[in-house]
Amino acid sequence: MNSAGRQPWVLWSVTVIALLILVVASLAIGAVPLAPMDTVNALLGHGDDTAVTIVRELRLPRVALAILVGAALGSSGAALQGTLRNALAEPYLLGVSGGSAVGAVIAMTLGVVSAAAVPLAAFAGAVVAVLLVLSLARAAGGARDARTLLMAGVIIGAFANAIILILLADQPPERSRSALWWMAGSLADGSWPRVSWMLIYLSLGLALLLSRARMLDVLSLGDESAAALGADVGGATRQVFLISALLAAASVAAAGLVGFVGLVVPNIARAFGITRHRPLILSSALSGAALLVLADLVARTVRAPVELPLGAITALIGVPVFLLRLRRTK
């Protein structure tokens, strides 16, 4: 499977170039279209004042948020797949994102709106969802069985959606964004405070995950071999779950439910021969960023001025990948 064209460096370079192009395209395309060179100049603060304002104040925060949210979803998916030994795992399908959204919605209906605090409430919701999913899977036959766990995750995700709909049924939209916003995902309210907090949570989560990368390599060998190599399997699994939940929670608080990014990008990285978890997590963060910038660009240009739901675009990309991968599992 590691054929000549599928070397790690090919993926790294393609991803970096694609990300740069997508960022410039996202900054250039919009209600007021800009030429690529004008866009780059405006980004650097040169040229027409209006262009500078459009690029740096209106479009850049949204693109920056897309990069950070995509990186969080990609790295969290890579880590969850490693610890669960399951190439179909990712925060959305495991119900972690749904739990995060419930936590965030509850906090916002109670009047908490700060870009720093909402992710923490989302994190609490994510932890509750993880515990529910694990105990549901255990009751249904085994928390280590890939399919049982995903089924439990999808069930808890559906339950989370129901709670969001009920909680937001009589809320004024200016108080807590709409249920549709949460369930469809959107980067429309990208702002610098939100970007800064997302950056802080992403850096924290990514650093913690990378420090556990070798542990993830060992965990992916299975419980007995991991124990033979000195891993505390239970403790390590819990740590990785918590860190991944933090990353998913921060992304949900910033952009709502955006599924499948965490599923797609680690599988692409593995197909290019990136198998050790340190490069895998980094590559998934980078490709996740590129994928989400692309999805957001598609979401707001295909039927402009109508903006399509971001989560719908990532699902359109992710579901075929899920089905392809499902055929190869077992």
Partner: protein, 265 residues
Amino acid sequence: MTQSAALEFESVTLAYAASAPPVARNVSLVAGPGKITAIVGPNGSGKSSLVRGVLGLMPQHSGRILAGANNLLSMSAREISQQISVMPQRESLAFPMKVRDYVALGRSPFLGLWSALSSRDVTIISGAMARAEVVAFADRSTDELSGGEWQRVRLARTLAQDTPILLLDEPTTFLDIAHEMSTFETLSNEARAGRTVVMVSHTLTLVARFADQMVLMHDGRVAAIGSPRDVMQASVLEAVYGWPLVVSHDPAVGAPTLVPLRRPG
């Protein structure tokens, strides 16, 4: 490897759970450095439970398991893995990886969160790959290996741990005669280098040629322990395996050879 150490079981009783009946009862044995100790016995006699007990995956009801002078119960999983390399019976990778990367995981008990492989680690890994004879497929992916190759790659990872004690659960399953023999020769060399080698095996005749000590398990207890000549007694083996057999002494190799008989009638 730092220094040699024996693996010792002192009246060890193990069970799957606190309330479950024990699957290993009152097991005592000493596996000494420089020697191969083979644990044999029928399916379900408790051999693999002893391995899982060393890994701390079986609740230990009584007794002590010692690596050198240290009681495993008072050691962390990481400390144990710095003393004992365990090759579990089965292992399936969730995701394929390069053989060299897989063998390198044998060094993880000695690495910190952020530390990279040192040149010493790399030397140990190369040595382990050479001794397990897997250098030829170092750059292949683990999903492109035959059953026999995979078994040898797992042996290489176990050797890369470079500990005084090696504990292998059926290391020669899936291997043809040549690979089985060369695995036994490799383990024999490891023992000669001063390591304590303990292996669970089903191939009694072959084990009898390589082992210094045999431990015959039956129903969770030690049914016989001693040199291959002491343990390879037809009367003892017949009772334990519940099958008629004869033990002859092969003149070509000078070791006891077991021949199971056809069911009479």
